[in-house]
Amino acid sequence: MNDGLALGQKEAFAEVEKLLQPFRKGDASIALDTDITRDLNIDSLAVMDMIMELEDKFDISIPLNVVAETKTVRELVDAVSRLRMGA
């Protein structure tokens, strides 16, 4: 599933996967190409909660424009690991 990810990305993926568990539809697992709003049962307030959890966990701030350009788990994981490295 997450082969080929750098260490920081693996850590971010693990956290995102954990936070998104409650919103899975049926048996479908959380994968890198999961489209967060399309493939999961998550509303806008729960999305805000998840972003806040990620920010607190990794001590980062995810800017508005990055949130607006993020659709998939992969994009979110990339954004989190990029911000953690201060990029």
């Binding site: 509303d43 806008s44 909660d49 508005l64 949130v67």
Partner: protein, 582 residues
């Protein structure tokens, strides 16, 4: 860093009574009060006293004039809760330019829809310049392709302009103040033309009878500046009353709703406002100890507006925070819309939220008959009383032929008075559809009168409001119709009242030609996903047979009839127990 003081030491309190926003700004700048910007942790990020705001705005006004913007030109401003936005808005006033505040992108994957919306707003307002919030310059640049702009960019791009050597001629009492883009659907945005006269009249009315603003008041808000309640209520209103105001970006409030109450407790704020859902949100996840640590006895006016006032939520809030000194009498239900600047009716001060209980049986026929105290919740429905119109304003409830109705008869709400807009910018047809020659505005809301007071029961127009956000059913329908296998006219979206939790549920009816069970399930999921992607909301999807959706005589979808059919169980799903109000 020290926040601005609540009281001016020398400057005498003047409750509005100014003829233009620039004049109000000139006055407020003689004192020490101003704006304070906070984050979700309640940390003070920046302080902008009115004196400083005026000075910075005048500098920026000269920079804008150097751009060769002409008097009356429009400038689009992405309205983040920042000193840069406040400064740019006031700079436009001093430069004689009409600001057009617009929203921020909300949610994951919101970019595409947001850029499209910005492009339509740029075109609709004929803006000649546009300022993004920090980080959003790229989105604005995409939207600005093909638009005829002298300059677009983030605040820094404007700050680095040279100042023109020009005398400032501020927007005067007889013209526009700004355009408010919160009406109309995403595809056909409508900019409400807010004049200086209407704004000054509305702020005076709200500050006098409505909220009874006093010099010792201190305001606080997490409402967005791109919405009339945030912009007028907590930026322009406070300038006109020289009130210090503590500000929190909406997304920060959404992350930590309790910060609102913590800040009120610490900063001793006396005036704040929220739609019902904000009160609901802020009381979640608070322990008894956290409640006990708060002191909300300073909260004199807790306004409610922007969605239908839900008395049961307010009552729960008052009960939970009574140990923290909150009084139910602080609640001020109110009623208004962008077309009247902000609120035009306020519930008079009382010791609790005043309600009217009516029999459900009569509602569908347009009768709001008083229920006995013995009637239970199945028989009676409770509405909040939204109060009396502001001085100089009239409210009227009319029937289909627009004849005034007597008390306790439900009809369309009309309003007239100095707060009413002259219309939508450059949209004479849309204006004529709601604004009559004699000055009466058709609000699109449904309600009834009771001894001169207004009670709102719902909406005649099809607008859906979820968590204070306006959602146009057309936008949802178009998104769903774009799915493979569906055609134009196959979809009807509307809201039904959710009696259990308060608020609204969205129902989407879809004409499906499929018979295979799996294919139908798949379609249902695709519709849910399309709606979530379009508006970030959940909905109830109901598949109906071909030709099952009712049409008007001109062949258009009749949403109100589709909704009635649904509520009566014609589409086979369990109907909402409320026979709804239309």
């Amino acid at each position: 860093m020290t926040p601005t003081p609540t009281l001016n030491t020398k400057l005498k309190f003047q409750r509005c009574g100014f003829s233009s926003l620039a004049q109000a700004m000139d006055y407020a700048a003689q004192g020490e009060t101003g704006f304070n910007f906070y984050n979700a942790r309640g940390q003070l990020l920046s302080v902008l006293p009115y004196r400083e705001l005026r000075a910075q705005a005048q500098i920026m006004a000269r920079k804008l004039l150097g751009l060769k913007l002409h008097r009356g030109d429009r400038m689009l401003l992405v309205a983040d809760t920042t000193p840069q936005f406040a400064t740019a808005f006031i700079a436009c006033q001093y430069a004689g330019i009409v600001p057009v505040p617009v929203s921020l992108p909300v949610g994951l994957g919101a970019k595409t829809g947001y850029v499209d919306q910005l492009a339509l707003q740029l075109a609709g307002s004929g803006a000649r310049a546009a300022m993004a919030a920090d980080g959003l310059g790229g989105f604005l640049a995409e939207a600005a392709e093909g638009a005829n702009l002298l300059l677009h960019g983030e605040p820094e791009a404007f700050a680095s302009l040279p100042e023109a050597q020009a005398d400032l001629k501020p927007l005067g009492p007889d013209g526009r103040c700004y355009l408010q883009y919160s009406s109309g659907s995403t595809r056909f945005p409508l900019g409400v033309d807010v004049t200086q006269k209407a704004l000054m009249a509305n702020i005076l009315g709200m500050s006098s009878v409505g909220l009874d603003i006093r010099p010792e008041d201190r305001a606080i808000s997490w409402l967005p500046f791109y919405h009339d309640m945030g912009l007028i209520g907590f930026m322009l209103g406070p300038i006109c009353n020289q009130l210090s105001t503590d500000l929190l970006p909406t997304r920060e409030f959404a992350r930590r709703p309790s910060v609102w109450l913590n800040m009120i407790s610490q900063n001793r704020n006396s005036v704040s406002y929220s739609p019902t859902f904000g009160y609901d949100l802020s009381m979640r996840r608070l322990s008894d100890e956290q409640v006990a640590a708060l002191d909300l006895s300073c909260w004199r006016r807790a306004g409610i507006g922007g969605d239908m006032v839900q008395p049961q939520v307010l009552r729960r809030f008052a009960e939970i925070f009574a140990p923290a000194g909150f009084r139910e009498g602080a609640f001020v239900p109110s009623y208004g819309m962008a077309e009247t600047c902000l609120a035009v009716a306020f519930a008079p001060a009382d010791d609790k939220v005043r309600i009217d209980r009516v029999l459900r049986a009569g509602l569908a026929a347009g009768r709001a008959e008083a229920a006995n105290a013995s009637a239970d919740e199945r028989e009676a429905r409770t509405f909040a009383i939204c109060g009396l119109p502001l001085a100089g304003h009239d409210l009227e409830v009319r029937d289909e032929q627009e004849f005034p109705l007597p008390d306790r008869r439900i009809g369309r709400v009309f309003v007239r008075g100095p707060s009413v807009t002259p219309g939508y910018f450059n949209q004479p047809e849309a204006t004529a559809a709601v604004l009559h020659q004699d000055g009466w505005l058709d609000t699109g809301d449904l309600g009834y009168m009771l001894d001169g007071e207004l009670i709102v029961t719902g909406r005649a127009k099809d607008l859906i409001i979820i968590n204070g956000r306006n959602i146009w059913p057309q936008d949802l329908e178009w998104a769903v119709e774009a799915l493979p296998g569906l055609r134009r006219g196959d979809v009807a979206a509307f809201a039904v009242h959710d009696d259990e939790h308060g608020g609204e549920d969205v129902v989407v009816l879809v004409q499906a030609r499929l018979t295979d069970v799996e294919a139908r399930d798949e379609l249902r999921r695709a519709v849910e996903a399309a709606v979530r992607e379009q508006a970030a909301i959940d909905c109830r999807v109901v598949l109906v047979p071909p030709h099952a959706l009712p049409q008007t005589s001109s062949g258009k979808l009749s949403r109100s009839r589709a909704r009635n059919n649904y509520l009566q169980g014609q589409y086979g799903e369990p109907a909402d127990p409320v026979p709804a109000e239309s």
